[in-house]
Subunit: 360 residues, 2 copies
Amino acid sequence: MRISSAEEREFLEGVFTAYSFSNEDSALLADTLVDADLRGIASHGIQRLAWYIRMIKEGTIQPQNKVKVLKETPTSLLVDANKNMGQIASAFAMKNLIKKTKQVGLSMAVIRNSNHFGTAGYYSRMAVAEGLIGIATTNTRPLVAPTNATQAFLGSNAFAFTFPASPHPFVFDGATSVVSGGKIQVLAKNNKPLPGDWAIDGERNVIHDAQAAEDILAKVAFTEHQTGGGVLTLGGNSEKNSNYKGFGNSLIIELLTGILAQGSISADTNTGEHDFSQFFLTLDPAVFGDLETFATNATAMFTRIRGLEHTPGTQIMIPGDREYKNYHENLQQGVLLDEKSAAEIKEIAQELEITVPKFK
Amino acid sequence: MRISSAEEREFLEGVFTAYSFSNEDSALLADTLVDADLRGIASHGIQRLAWYIRMIKEGTIQPQNKVKVLKETPTSLLVDANKNMGQIASAFAMKNLIKKTKQVGLSMAVIRNSNHFGTAGYYSRMAVAEGLIGIATTNTRPLVAPTNATQAFLGSNAFAFTFPASPHPFVFDGATSVVSGGKIQVLAKNNKPLPGDWAIDGERNVIHDAQAAEDILAKVAFTEHQTGGGVLTLGGNSEKNSNYKGFGNSLIIELLTGILAQGSISADTNTGEHDFSQFFLTLDPAVFGDLETFATNATAMFTRIRGLEHTPGTQIMIPGDREYKNYHENLQQGVLLDEKSAAEIKEIAQELEITVPKFK
């Protein structure tokens, strides 16, 4: 079924306002979820709402807390998200970095005491909209088993990178692991199997039952009870296909987030503080030359790649192509919603006594 | 067989001096190759020498040309390598960035008109030796087939990231593709099969014959004759295991190198200019807190990861662990050398009438 993005936005703003977020913050939070659904990133759209509300009720998320700047230089920013939603501190940080980078060429921010921030691409796209290269990363709950390990330790740490191009920017946005936990969640909600080598059990055997994988992830991510198993690093189950590179990529994000923020590393977010950390970087390509030239040359490269010889029945897509195609289509036809999430939305609306959005 | 690293260094300095590099540049070039061999990265060690010499003889490498600074700000540096070896401009750029970052918190450099620069980790380790986070990247000859493509287009673009830790820094250093072309080259030289899904033919079938793969790579990387086939992106042959993430990672390096440098993208380095481009970034963690605390916390995380439950007969290693172990061992026992490279070294020595190093 589908829901119009305008109705989704209105509903979400109502829910967040009802949970004591400021009007401005409610609008931002709604926008990040609608934006993900429009881009076809259902794993990070409205299906997360029930989970966010659980964290608000548990006190993990503190809707009225204000963002605090702890340290600032002309090129850097250390921010305390103050246990509010990650989206709020992240949008704040990225707006600041854009100003700094336009003055000094590049700048970086670290956020501590944060929560889930939605899609990483939301923030790196803020930078590219201003003609800058944007990088956004976060750690997460522990979901990912390092190379050779039989238990989860790393987050499915997200990484986004954007670069100016036409007709839309280059947008790489995804978990550094083979898939995000959210992608497995969506398949489990829809009773579909895992199509690839994504998850392992406690003996590092690959499993394809999405619900079995989701059961493992729910334990490793949210409890101290480590039964073993988790999501694989990019590169799969075996060292012979260099899965230690995917492991390394995820570890780099751990260093830039939890370690630089002096917050929890992903492995410790299932106990105690539940805090996430984020890292952002913006670079101004104009210090090296003309912005239009860079965008034109990048666009020309992408056009050549899309036109390369390929296997029959497939298509070569540049990171961002699918998202922008989805965006324009879903703006017209409404965003996709699975039945379980629709039921959750009804329940949330009833509890708050607000209008249930129309599903079609 | 093995060769002592001291003799390797002396031999290499003699070769580079004989090919008209300055004494300082010869020492640097020798150091980068000895360093790779000591760390067990044979693909980027002395086995590259014959290839470098071919490029010197062809005029692709111009040993006497001086590095030129084209643009400079307090946070950035645009460098022209002036067709000399990539190592020379890269070490120059990284030394400059270290100074800048200590003053302003972070800085970046782009190099154009460059050549192969050895291992990326050599430069990011220069930054970490000064307490900074280091990032080093390069594009390369076209070797890698994008997701679904049946022909090579991307470089096996290298990426290194270093972070302070004990007893040695975190050093992630590798091709963004499933493996570097050099790794296939070494297996072909040793008549060994490819152990994983690394290379494809012109119909995107995985091939395991190293010499067949090397024959494909020699054509796609060095001639305009595109027969199809190449190296796979990290994530393997199929979209279902997210090989588009490996594709995205390689594309990011294309943007930061060839595009920002306004040089050739990897796809165009097999014709015309043969120029490579490099990108470097250094960050000072001290702007966010105490360096010792970061290194201590990173070290504690790595210790926990090494001690995780794992499959029998395996070991969990942190990026850098293997390299530093190799380094200390090979410093004692000498670096490994394959027969074909030993034969090449003898030939090079005879042509220059310099002493052949002792093999044992």
